[in-house]
Amino acid sequence: MSRISQCFEKLKKDGQSALIPYVTAGDPEPWVTVPLLHALVDAGADIIELGIPFSDPMCDGPVIQKACERALKNDVSIISVLKMVKQFREKNQETPIVLMGYANPIESMGYSVFAKQAQEAGVDGVLTVDVPPEESDDFRLTMDEHGIDTIYLVAPTTSEARMKVIASFARGFIYYVSIKGVTGAAALDIEEVTGKLATLRKITDLPLGVGFGIRDGKSAASVAKIADAVVVGSTLVKCIEEHARAERLEELPAAVAGLVAEMRHAINANDLASA
């Protein structure tokens, strides 16, 4: 069983939802990332989503676009992202890491080379936002051979027929994109999300994560009531941006971890209320 599945099993037993923070690797400086990841885990992250910077992040809003630009200015490549994961694994062998990004850096490296090196570095899952199931046969099979979970997106526009195909391809968990739009664009509509997740539950037993549009403890807690995982990205990346200047860098890990801790508290309060 993959580290991601083990993580969800354990949380399920405890009656908890996973909290999955997203940060872009190498933002704002390459050396910040690994200490930041440890701080996120300490603050209550169950799984980490680590963004591979890309020059043309067309599914992302301005906050993550700028994060990519900051990382690329420091020459952060897919190879350096894998090195960061390897370094993180020296001190942490439990927390699953999902790489999130766009197809081209992985295409450029070659699926097999990437899969092998990602496995060696300790990557558990990968989500390429611009590779729909239709185009993912080779990719999925290669990742499978190396024990890496392929995470797929389901969107508000996804038909039930497509959900079934996606569910048959997905490993680890399914990521439900809660809004029509780019990352960080708008607040989600909890009723609509509840309905979609109910449909998905009829189709799959995989854990369901929800992302896009979660901004604070309150929205995290309300999503945690209906989903197995809460993904939060732009809010954290915005905080990184605010601490990107040299004189504030030292405070950065603690500031971002503070936001994660607040969300963790809010989610845990749910569990107490329902217990």
Partner: protein
């Protein structure tokens, strides 16, 4: 040339998933997949619908001014010595380039799909103007995304679009040019997917765009074939067209692909020279990858990040190319060449002086290559160049090269 791919080319490419060999496909976020299938369905439904085709033909005739003439460039032919040089005069179309052939087709499709909000990306502004033009005529809302740097460089086209009622959004992200405008248009589409039709300006993007835009542009090649047969009694020996995304080239080439005697040359922008790294020639100097919805040749660094491009001509200044061109390169059916800014500029002046036709800087790349090719051919052979646009929009660029400012 891989002959087995040529004989049944029209039946085989693209396949039903939009693949031209390993190229093309649909590489977009899940939120857009529904819209892409919806578009494909609508296109399949209307592409052979007599009423749709009749409406398009009428617009192409009375609004665009088609068929565009075939012109024998006698003076230039005499000066170069060699093949008889013919020009397909897409520069005489309404709005000044071939772009409008496609925007009319897509806008008619949008109307039938009940989508009243049109978005588009533009580099130099030609596709933006062609889109704003059809949107004005059809009473549709129109938003054009344009790199902030291009907005500054192409103030006149920005004003034209505004006159036509379009909203022009200057894109500040990334390199602030065409590729970033495309990213931003995709972001708009994903946000407003229910009521919005995205009119892509070239033969790139997710399936069905490369095939659909091609089909709207093949009117160029179909007309040219008939016109050459009428005028010379035979097929042309060589075709030459410039390649940015590649829509004017595929429009000319496609109806000739199965005619093996016809040689084809696609000409990319070599900018300051391929070896300088400052160019926009992914077929000549790039490698395959995935960007903007399709797999194709791209200009990228060792890590798969897209690199900035350069061309004197804003319409060629793009790091990718249509997936069908990638395939035609691999199977050897089309020869892909490149010419520098300086060579294009020299050809620009030469045609202007010899024939009294001021070409677009994009089309000047085709002219510059033809200028090298014609003397290697025999006087009883013919060479057909797609003159894809007129040079009015480029006056300030050319003047600036000569040290003048308006």
């Amino acid at each position: 040339m891989l002959k087995e791919h040529i004989d049944d080319y029209y039946k085989t490419f693209p396949d039903d998933r939009g693949h031209f060999g390993p190229y093309g496909g649909r590489f977009v976020g899940e939120t857009l997949m529904g819209a892409i299938y919806e578009l494909q369905e609508a296109y399949e439904k209307y592409r052979n619908d007599p009423e749709f085709l009749a409406e398009m033909d009428k617009d192409l005739s009375t609004f665009v001014g088609r068929p565009s003439p075939l012109y024998l460039a006698e003076n230039w032919t005499r000066e170069l010595g060699g093949a008889q040089i013919y020009l397909k005069r897409e520069d005489l179309n309404h709005t000044g380039a071939h772009k409008v052939n496609n925007t009319i087709g897509q806008a008619l499709l949008a109307k039938r799909m009940g989508k009243n909000r049109i978005i588009a990306e533009t580099g130099a502004g030609q596709h933006g103007v062609a889109t704003a033009t059809v949107a004005a005529r059809m009473g549709m809302e129109c938003i054009v995304y344009m790199g902030a740097e291009d907005v500054e460089r192409q103030a006149q086209n920005v004003y034209r679009m505004k006159l036509l009622g379009a909203k022009v959004v200057a894109v500040e992200s990334g390199s602030r040019t065409l590729k970033d405008a495309l990213n931003e248009a995709l972001r708009d589409w994903v946000t407003n997917v229910d009521d919005t039709f995205y009119i892509i300006g070239t033969v790139a993007g997710p399936h069905p765009y490369p095939a659909m835009v091609r089909d709207f542009q093949t009117v160029i090649g179909r007309e040219a074939k008939q016109q050459m047969l009428n005028k010379t009694g035979k097929l042309p020996d060589a075709l030459v067209a410039c390649i940015g995304g590649g829509s004017n080239a595929i429009g000319l080439f496609h109806p000739f692909i199965e005619d093996e005697s016809v040689k084809m040359y696609g000409v990319e922008g070599a900018g300051h020279g391929i070896e300088s790294g400052q160019h926009s020639a992914p077929l000549s100097a790039g490698r395959p990858g995935v960007l903007h919805g399709n797999r194709t040749y791209l200009m990228q660094d060792d890590n798969g990040e897209i690199v900035e491009t350069h061309s004197i001509s804003a319409g060629l200044d793009y790091p990718g190319v249509g997936p069908e061109h990638a395939w035609l390169k691999d199977i050897g059916r089309v020869n892909y060449e490149s010419v520098t800014d300086d060579e294009a500029l020299a050809a620009f002046h030469e045609l202007t002086r010899n024939e009294g036709i001021i070409p677009a800087l994009e089309s000047s790349h085709a002219l510059a290559y033809a200028r090298k090719l014609a003397p290697t051919m025999l006087p009883d052979q013919t060479l057909l160049i797609n003159l894809s646009g007129r040079g009015d929009k480029d006056m300030h660029t050319v003047a600036a090269m000569a040290g003048m400012n308006f």
